[in-house]
């Protein structure tokens, strides 16, 4: 028998390609992904229809007799975001909370379930036995999370259009342009990278503890929630898109490196 054994060297790119193929295949076969997309599609339609129906209704506090007038959305685009400068003055009312930015929370749930599943099912054992380098895992999960999150944002946008049409809310752009809306959506999509990098980091740190990863990710999202309307207002320009893109890439690289380090320096089962 020969004294040495030769092992085929697989490049990082080749390994990443197989990892991405597996993760995409898994995500597109996973019911949870379609449930999330469905939720993202239905929520805005429900919110728009319900708030339009409730708009102007008065509720009276029986003890103090104080009257509260329920205010709904004035136009469809408010469900996507607010115009720059408005958000700082806005209180935490329905219109500031129930909008597309909720999708960042939903993305947290998707990513946490996706990664925790790897560890809970024991799939991580199969995976990390044959993969000494953890970078491809982190990159793949970040990209998958990003695509999943972007899909949810787009689904929410589509749901908003449908909900607006059903509820009869105006689509009037006012001072905005179609370009602003496109830039706003692009900025939100790229900003998703920042959040996904955080969710991946929390998930690989907590491994099979799904509850811990969801709590951690939602907590981090809450801390950064107010940043979203500031970074991605309805009147976004190319600057907003660039800032979100650069921020997303930097966060992904930085936090991705930390995630890789955690996987390399800690036990995987």
């Amino acid at each position: 028998m020969e004294n040495t054994m030769k092992f085929e060297h697989k490049t990082f790119g080749k390994k990443l390609k197989t990892m991405l193929a597996v993760d995409f295949r898994r995500m597109f076969k996973s019911p949870i992904f379609y449930i999330m997309i469905g939720v993202a599609l239905v929520i805005p339609a429900l919110i728009l229809v319900m708030t339009t129906m409730m708009d102007g209704t008065v509720s009276v506090d029986p003890t103090t007799g104080a009257e509260t007038v329920m205010e709904g959305f004035d136009n469809v685009w408010q469900s996507i975001g607010s115009v720059s400068g408005e958000s700082s003055e806005m209180s935490m009312d329905l219109t500031s909370m129930c909008n597309i930015n909720m999708m960042y929370f939903l993305a947290a749930v998707l990513i946490c379930i996706f990664i925790a599943d790897d560890f809970r099912s024991g799939y991580a054992k199969n995976l990390f036995t044959v993969r000494a380098n953890k970078a491809d895992y982190v990159i793949s999960k970040t990209l998958i999370g990003f695509v999943g999150g972007a899909a949810m944002l787009i689904a929410y946008f589509v749901g908003t259009m449908l909900g607006g049409a059903i509820s009869g809310l105006p689509f009037a752009l006012g001072a905005l342009t179609v370009g602003n809306i496109v830039m706003c959506m692009l900025a939100k999509v790229f900003l998703m990278l920042v959040f996904v990098a955080i969710f991946v980091l929390v998930s690989v740190a907590t491994k099979q503890k799904l509850w811990a990863s969801i709590i951690g990710s939602l907590g981090a999202s809450m801390l950064l929630f107010t940043m979203i309307p500031m970074m991605t207002p309805l009147n976004s320009s190319i600057m907003n898109v660039m800032m979100c893109l650069i921020g997303g890439v930097l966060f992904s690289i930085g936090l991705g490196a930390v995630s890789k380090m955690i996987l390399s320096k800690t036990s995987l089962v």
């Binding site: 028998m1 054994m5 092992f7 085929e8 697989k10 019911p31 054992k125």
Partner: protein, 317 residues
């Protein structure tokens, strides 16, 4: 060449030392039976070999390279505790997922091949969660066999298998190691089954390697005994006890005499004392008894010593 070479391996979980200065040598082409009590450190060692948990100290080399070498690790197959499968996916999809992970080109053909090896081709469409424990073990083996691994690490692969399943498993493991290039590390509490396939053994206790030996060395270490049956076993036992230092009754109802020179000597002795023998035979203690005896510090085995195996393939042996 050694498939696995471990020196001074240590693993601490907080104040508890699960593995303590373990040395282990697994020659390429061997079926290495890794034996030890519950909590002795078998699974921890196997997980460290697979890179799933980090050692606190010591070194692990796989085929002469560090265990973190990505190219070597890509050729390791593993079944530790339970197969890593998604419960809501079909067996086929789980297998295809792992095949994609390994970057196997003809993944469908390869998956079919390994499922056929473990006689699970008929259950490919079943959801993994609906499979029985034995089926899951076979799926785990099939998954570990994907991608033609040069090193297979199997932790209790015989758990939950029926007699046919065990036979299949034996056939699979002996078949893949025939060429001398594939190595299997298998831990099991079913020592009788292990003895049928293992070419090398390592016995671990309290995180330390008690001894390593080849199947031939085990055979030499296991003492022979004379087993006999008479009509009056109590009187026979009393008679034999007068002459021989170790006389025991086994589970099958035989009296075992460990230090007799030959059966003829016993026949003559009992005949002289008016005792007729119904049946007499010579036999050797098995791995199970050897192991139990070793754990109890008994004397039915010759003193075991830490051996370092010559790097030979099975054909050479």
């Amino acid at each position: 060449m050694n498939a696995v070479e471990i020196k001074g391996l240590t693993k601490n979980f907080g104040p508890k030392q699960a593995v303590s200065g373990l040395n282990m040598t697994v020659p390429a082409g061997a079926i290495y039976g890794f034996i030890g009590e519950n909590g002795s450190g078998k699974s921890t060692t196997e997980k460290m070999i697979c890179g799933l948990i980090l050692p606190s100290g010591g070194s692990i080399k796989l085929y002469g390279k560090d265990y973190t070498d990505a190219d070597v690790r890509a050729r390791v197959g593993v079944l530790i505790e339970a197969p890593g499968c998604f419960p809501n996916m079909s067996v086929w999809n789980n297998m295809m997922l792992q095949a994609s992970n390994l970057g196997i080109k003809n993944s469908e053909t390869e998956v079919q091949k390994v499922l056929k090896m473990v006689r699970m081709e008929g259950a490919a469409g079943n959801k993994y969660k609906n499979c029985s424990l034995g089926m899951k073990q076979r799926i785990g083996i099939a998954m570990a066999l994907l991608g033609d691994p040069v090193l297979l690490v199997l932790d209790e692969p015989l758990n939950g298998l029926d007699a046919d399943g065990m036979r299949i498993m034996r056939e699979v493991l002996t078949d893949i190691t025939k060429d001398g290039k594939h190595t299997v590390i298998v831990s099991s509490h079913l020592l009788g089954e292990l003895q049928k396939i293992a070419t090398h053994y390592g016995i671990i206790r309290h995180g330390k390697m008690l001894c390593e030996m080849t199947a031939e060395e085990l055979d030499a270490n296991c003492r022979t005994y004379v087993a006999l049956q008479t009509k009056d076993m109590n009187r026979t036992k009393a008679l034999l006890a007068c002459k021989y230092s170790r006389v025991e009754e086994d589970e099958a109802g035989y009296l075992r005499v460990y230090d007799a020179k030959s059966p003829e000597e016993i026949v003559t002795y009992l005949y002289e004392n008016g005792m007729l023998i119904n049946e007499i035979k010579t036999d050797k203690i098995g791995l199970e008894e050897y192991y139990i005896d070793l754990m109890n510090g008994g004397s039915s085995s010759a003193p075991a010593k830490q051996s370092h195996f010559p790097s030979k393939s099975k054909e050479e042996r």
